[in-house]
C-alpha cells in the first residue's frame, strides 16, 4: 500500500495519441493494434484511425504498431512528466494474402468494441466477389447475413425485414436518397474504385446514427493518395471507370468518374423485339475529394458527387402514334468537413452537407378510347441541408464519450401534370434537429464493454420531440467467445410514398411526415454470440426481433401515386429471425457461409400480410481460392464462387378474372378489358431461387502497367429463377407464363489497370 502510494507520488502519468495511416497512400488504418512493452497498456485505432493510450507512467517505453497486412513499426519513447505525446504513425503495407485483412480487422474489433450486427467492407473485398456484370457495393452487401434482394437485378437493400426506405445511406456524410438508380436500378451510385470502406449496421445501431428505422450504410471514399500520383482505370462490359489521386500541398485529392459504355440488356431486348422499341439509356457519375491538413490538429475535407441517369423508351404504333417515356434521375451532393484535434483526449468534426436528388418523368401515350395523345409529367426534387457536429472525448481508459448535434433542413417539391393540367403540386419544408450522446464504457478491459446512448429529435412539423435510448453490450466470457446484445428505439421522419414492394422501382418519392402523422417507430432487440475458433475462423449467430409502429404503408401496386401521402395507410408489423455467419480462411482458400431466417409481417386494416421482401430462408456460400501454378493460362489467378439459395418471394396470385367495362363521359360502357381477382397480399410464394456465379481474376502487365483481367459468369447452371407470372389474355382461358430475368448464363469481362 505504502509502495503504491509512493509510486503515485513520484510518478506522473501522460497519454500517447495520434493517427495511424498507410505509408503508401496516406489512408487511415482502422483497428490497428498499438501496444506498449509494459505488457499492460495498449489499445487500437478507432474507425477514423485515431488511438489514445491513457495514464502511462513516465519512463522509457517501446511502442509497437501492428496490423495484419502491414509491417509492424516499433518506436522507442521516453515519456517526460506533464508531457502528453502525439505520435502519428505511418505503416508500410506488406505482401499478404487478401483474405487475411478482414480477419485481422474483425478480430481487433471483437476484442475492443461492442459490435452488434455490424459489417465492414473494404474496396478490395467488394471487388473480389462475383456479381452480375460488374462489382457493386450494394450487390456485395446483398451477400451478407440478413440482407436480401428481391431478384437477380435488384439493387436495393432489404435488411432484416426492413424496406429500403428504412435504411440510412451516407456517402462521406452526405445523405443519399436514391442510391440504387443507375441503369434501371442495376447499379448503385457508388463507384467501387473510390470507396475506401463501407460499414453496414443491420440493426441495433448506436446513437450517433438515426432517422431511419432499420439500418445504416455509411460509405467513406478514399482520402486520396497523399504520397504520389496514382490512378486506376477499368473497362467492363457495361461501364468504364477512372480514378486519379495524388498529393496536394499539405493535402491530397481524388477524382473518380464512371460512365456507361454499353448496355447488353438493352441491346438484347431490342434485338429480340426488333421493330418497334428503342431503349436508349445513359448514366454517368463523378466524385471528387480534396483534403488539406493545415496543421497537425486541423484537417479540412471537401467531397462532392454528381451523377445522372437517363432512360428513354419509345414504342411506335404504325407510323405516327407512339408511347414515349423520358425518365431522368440526378444525384448531387457536397460536404465540407473540418476535423480538429482539440487535445489528445478530445477531437471533433464539423460537417456541412448538401444533398440533392431530382427525378423527372415525361410520359407521352396513346389514349386508347379517344385515339388522342396524352401526357403525364412528374417532377420531384429533394434538397437536404445538413449541419452536423460530432465530438469524441476520451475521458479515460474506460470511457469514451461521443456526442453531437445535427440540424437538417429539407425542401421537397413534387408536381404532377396530367394532360397539360396540373394535377397536384406539393411543396414542403421541414426541419429536424438532433442531439445525441453515447458512452462506450469498458467495464472490464477486453471482457465487458457497455455502450449506452440517447438520441433526441425535435421535428418542427407538429412540434414533435422524441427520445430514442440505445444500449449495446459485449461480454467476452471466454478469450474467443463473446455475447453481444443491443436494444434500442428508432424513429423516422421521412417516408416514401411509392411501394417498396414493386418489382421495378427505380426512384423513390420521399415525403416528410406532417402534423397528422404519428412518428414511425421501431424497437430492436438483438442478441448474438460470436465465436473465434482460431484467428481465421469465426462464427456469429444473431437472433433479433424488430417491432414497428405507425408505419406509413403505400398501396401494394403503386409506383407513382397521384396524391401526396393520402393513400398511405397506417400500419404496424414485426420482423424476427436470426442470422448465422461463418467465415474461414485456410492457406489459399477463404470463404463464408451465411444463413438468414426471417419472418416479416406487416399489419394494415387489421390484418397481417407478408410483404414481398419476406424471404424466409436465405443462404449464401462464397468461396475464393488461388488457382495452383500448374494450371496453364490461369495459374495464380483468384477464383471466387458464390452460390445462393433462397425461399421464393411471397406474392398475390391471380385467382380469377372479370370483365372491366370501360366507360365514356356519360357513363356508357364502350370497351371491355380483363381485370383480376387476386389472393390476399403475400399468400403465395414463388418457387425456390438459387444460382451459382463465378469470378476469375488474373493479374497481368499491360503497357508496362500493373493490372488484371477478369471474367464473371452469372447463373452457371442456368437456373430459371421466376420473378413473377404473367397471363396472356389473347387466348381464352388465358395462358400463364413465368417471367425469368436470366434466361441464360450471363458472362461478363473487364480489365483493370493501375498506374
Amino acid at each position: 500500500m505504502i509502495a503504491a502510494l509512493t509510486l503515485l507520488l513520484v510518478c506522473n502519468f501522460v497519454s500517447i495519441s495520434g493517427f495511424v495511416t498507410d505509408a503508401s497512400d496516406g489512408e487511415k488504418i482502422s483497428y490497428a493494434n498499438v501496444s506498449l512493452d509494459d505488457g499492460k497498456s495498449g489499445g487500437a485505432t478507432n474507425d477514423k484511425g485515431y488511438y489514445i493510450i491513457h495514464n502511462v507512467p513516465t519512463g522509457s517505453y517501446t511502442i509497437v504498431f501492428s496490423h495484419i497486412g502491414y509491417e509492424s513499426r516499433t518506436v522507442k519513447l521516453y515519456l517526460k512528466q506533464d508531457d502528453d505525446v502525439v505520435l502519428n504513425m505511418e505503416m508500410m503495407p506488406a505482401f499478404i494474402e487478401m483474405e487475411e485483412i478482414p480477419v485481422s480487422a474483425e478480430r481487433s474489433r471483437f476484442e475492443t468494441s461492442v459490435e452488434v450486427s455490424h459489417i465492414n467492407f473494404t474496396s478490395r473485398e467488394i471487388k473480389a466477389i462475383p456479381v452480375i456484370l460488374e462489382n457493386d457495393l450494394i450487390r456485395t452487401l446483398q451477400l451478407m447475413p440478413g440482407v436480401v434482394a428481391l431478384h437477380d437485378l435488384s439493387n436495393k437493400l432489404y435488411i432484416r425485414g426492413g424496406s429500403p426506405d428504412e435504411n440510412l445511406v451516407l456517402l462521406d456524410g452526405i445523405t443519399i436518397y436514391n442510391p440504387s438508380t443507375r441503369l434501371f436500378g442495376l447499379f448503385s451510385i457508388f463507384n467501387t474504385d473510390a470507396v475506401s470502406n463501407a460499414e453496414l449496421y443491420a440493426g441495433g445501431f448506436p446513437a450517433k446514427y438515426g432517422d431511419r428505422l432499420s439500418s445504416v450504410l455509411d460509405v467513406t471514399t478514399k482520402e486520396g493518395n497523399s504520397k504520389k500520383y496514382t490512378g486506376a482505370a477499368s473497362i467492363g462490359l457495361v461501364t468504364s471507370r477512372l480514378l486519379i489521386e495524388g498529393p496536394l500541398p499539405k493535402g491530397s485529392f481524388l477524382l473518380g468518374a464512371r460512365m456507361i459504355n454499353f448496355d447488353p440488356f438493352v441491346w438484347a431486348y431490342t434485338k429480340i423485339k426488333k421493330d418497334t422499341i428503342s431503349l436508349p439509356h445513359q448514366f454517368y457519375d463523378g466524385i471528387v475529394k480534396i483534403n488539406f491538413n493545415t496543421s497537425p490538429k486541423n484537417r479540412f475535407t471537401f467531397a462532392g458527387l454528381n451523377g445522372s441517369d437517363v432512360i428513354a423508351f419509345e414504342h411506335t404504333y404504325g407510323n405516327e402514334q407512339k408511347d414515349k417515356v423520358d425518365l431522368e434521375g440526378d444525384n448531387r451532393g457536397a460536404s465540407f468537413r473540418w476535423r480538429r484535434v482539440f487535445s489528445p483526449q478530445f477531437y471533433g468534426e464539423v460537417l456541412g452537407a448538401w444533398s440533392n436528388f431530382q427525378t423527372q418523368l415525361n410520359y407521352l401515350y396513346l389514349e386508347r378510347d379517344t385515339d388522342t395523345i396524352n401526357t403525364v409529367e412528374t417532377y420531384e426534387e429533394i434538397i437536404d441541408y445538413t449541419v452536423k457536429c460530432d465530438f469524441n472525448y476520451f475521458l479515460n481508459e474506460r470511457h469514451t464519450v461521443d456526442f453531437g448535434i445535427d440540424g437538417k433542413h429539407l425542401d421537397i417539391d413534387h408536381n404532377l401534370v396530367h394532360y397539360k393540367r396540373e394535377s397536384f403540386t406539393y411543396r414542403h419544408t421541414t426541419n429536424l434537429f438532433t442531439l445525441y450522446v453515447q458512452d462506450t464504457w469498458t467495464l472490464v478491459p477486453g471482457i465487458l464493454h457497455l455502450e449506452t446512448g440517447l438520441r433526441c429529435f425535435y421535428y418542427d412539423q407538429g412540434r414533435k420531440l422524441r427520445y430514442c435510448p440505445r444500449l449495446g453490450l459485449k461480454y467476452r466470457f471466454q478469450p474467443n467467445t463473446a455475447i453481444n446484445f443491443a436494444i434500442g428505439k428508432y424513429n423516422q421522419f421521412l417516408v416514401t410514398i411509392n411501394s417498396q414492394e414493386s418489382f421495378l422501382s427505380i426512384f423513390d418519392f420521399w415525403r416528410p411526415l406532417d402534423e397528422r402523422h404519428n412518428v414511425p417507430t421501431a424497437y430492436h432487440v438483438v442478441f448474438g454470440i460470436e465465436k473465434w475458433f482460431d484467428d481465421k475462423t469465426r462464427l456469429t449467430v444473431e437472433p433479433y426481433y424488430k417491432r414497428y409502429y405507425n408505419l406509413l404503408i403505400p398501396k401494394e401496386y403503386d409506383i407513382i401515386i397521384s396524391t401526396p401521402t393520402e393513400s398511405l395507410k397506417v400500419g404496424s408489423g414485426y420482423s424476427t429471425g436470426f442470422d448465422i455467419f461463418f467465415k474461414k480462411s485456410y492457406k489459399d482458400v477463404f470463404g463464408w457461409i451465411n444463413y438468414s431466417l426471417c419472418f416479416t409481417r406487416r399489419k394494415v386494416d387489421g390484418s397481417y400480410y407478408s410483404p414481398r421482401y419476406d424471404r424466409r430462408h436465405n443462404l449464401n456460400i462464397v468461396l475464393g481460392f488461388t488457382l495452383p501454378a500448374y494450371i496453364p493460362i490461369v495459374k495464380n489467378s483468384t477464383l471466387n464462387l458464390r452460390w445462393y439459395f433462397a425461399t421464393g418471394l411471397p406474392y398475390a396470385e391471380d385467382l380469377a378474372r372479370y370483365r372491366y367495362f370501360g366507360t365514356d363521359s356519360r357513363g356508357e360502357r364502350y370497351f371491355v378489358d380483363w381485370r383480376t381477382v387476386r389472393s390476399p397480399r403475400g399468400t403465395y410464394r414463388l418457387p425456390l431461387s438459387h444460382r451459382l456465379d463465378l469470378h476469375l481474376e488474373k493479374n497481368m502487365r499491360l503497357f508496362g502497367l500493373n493490372g488484371s483481367w477478369y471474367i464473371d459468369v452469372i447463373n452457371i447452371y442456368n437456373h430459371k429463377d421466376i420473378i413473377f407470372y404473367t397471363w396472356n389474355y389473347d387466348e381464352d382461358p388465358p395462358n400463364k407464363s413465368a417471367y425469368i430475368l436470366l434466361p441464360i448464363p450471363i458472362p461478363s469481362f473487364g480489365i483493370n489497370i493501375r498506374f
Binding site: 379517344t370 401496386y557 424466409r616 391471380d654 378474372r657 372479370y658 363521359s665 381477382v677 381464352d732 382461358p733
Partner: protein, 259 residues
C-alpha cells in the same frame, strides 16, 4: 419397473448424444416451414350499371368472375335482377340484342334518392348494390340562351353528392356538327362553386349555338373510374365486383362567340 427406468436412461443417454446443434436445426426447420396456402375461390357476380336521369329505361350488365383456367362465357342471362328505390321496384329483363338487363317499364330517377340493385342466381352469393343520385344542377351563369364569349366562365353550385363532372359542347353550325372533347372536373371538397373557363376548352370552334351537357357522377362511379388496374373494383357493390353508380345529366343551350 426396472426395465422402464432402463429404457428412460438409455433414451436420456441417446438424447445427450444428439448435439445441441442438431436439435437447433430441427427446431429451425420445424418453425421455418411455411404452410402451403391455396386459396379456394367461388365465382361472383360482376355488374356494370350507371343509372341516368336522362334515360327512361335503365340498363344493367350482369356477368360473373371466372377462374383463371376456366373459359369465359358471354354474360349471365338467367339471373334475377331487381332495381328498386323511391318507393318503386322493377324486375329487369334480359335483352338479347343489348346483352344486358333493362327495366321492364319506364324508370324515372329522382335526385338525391337512393337506389338499390339485387342480382341473384342459384349457386351464387346474392349481389347487392346501392347508389345515391346526385342533386340537381343550379347554374349561376349563364342562363339558358345567354351569349357567351371565350373569356367567360360557366359557374354553377356544386351538386350535392357529386364526385366528378363530365362536360362537352355540341352544336350545328352551317349544317356541320361540332362536338368538343369531354372535359373532366374533379371538384375540391371545400369548394361550393364550380367554375369552368370557356377558353380552356373551346378555342378552335366556330361561333354558334351550342348545347353544353354536364354529367354529375356519384362517388361509386368516381371510384370505378379512378381505381388502378390492380385493384379489385367493388364500386358500390357488395358480394360481387363491378359498378353500380349514377349520373345526373343536365344541359343548357347558349350562343358562344369565339372570334
Amino acid at each position: 419397473m426396472r426395465s422402464y427406468i432402463r429404457i428412460i436412461k438409455i433414451a436420456l443417454a441417446r438424447f445427450r448424444q444428439i448435439y445441441p446443434l442438431r436439435i437447433s436445426l430441427i427446431l429451425i426447420l420445424s418453425v421455418a416451414c411455411d404452410d402451403e396456402i391455396s386459396e379456394s375461390y367461388e365465382s361472383q357476380f360482376n355488374v356494370y350499371a350507371v343509372l341516368r336521369n336522362d334515360k327512361v329505361m335503365q340498363e344493367v350488365t350482369v356477368d360473373r368472375t371466372y377462374l383463371m383456367e376456366e373459359p369465359s362465357e358471354l354474360y349471365v342471362d338467367d339471373a334475377l335482377v331487381i332495381l328498386s328505390g323511391a318507393h318503386y321496384a322493377d324486375t329487369l329483363v334480359f335483352s338479347d340484342s343489348l346483352l344486358r338487363y333493362v327495366t321492364s317499364d319506364t324508370f324515372t330517377l329522382l335526385p338525391l334518392e337512393i337506389y338499390r340493385l339485387s342480382v341473384a342466381k342459384e349457386g351464387f352469393d346474392t349481389l347487392s348494390a346501392e347508389t345515391r343520385i346526385p342533386g340537381d344542377f343550379d347554374f349561376i351563369w349563364p342562363s339558358e340562351g345567354d351569349t357567351m364569349i371565350l373569356m367567360d366562365s360557366i359557374v354553377f353550385r356544386k351538386n350535392v353528392g357529386v364526385s366528378i363532372y363530365f362536360c362537352y359542347f355540341r352544336g350545328v353550325i352551317s349544317n356541320t356538327w361540332y362536338t368538343t372533347g369531354t372535359f373532366t372536373y374533379e371538384p375540391v371538397v371545400s369548394d361550393t362553386l364550380v367554375k369552368i373557363p370557356l377558353y380552356d376548352h373551346f378555342s378552335d370552334y366556330p361561333s354558334g349555338m351550342y348545347t353544353i351537357t354536364f354529367s354529375a357522377l356519384d362517388s361509386n362511379f368516381y371510384e370505378y373510374y379512378t381505381e388502378s388496374e390492380d385493384d379489385l373494383i367493388q364500386a358500390g357493390v357488395e358480394n360481387g365486383v363491378g359498378l353500380f353508380g349514377s349520373a345526373l345529366v343536365d344541359s343548357i343551350v347558349n350562343y358562344i362567340i369565339t372570334e
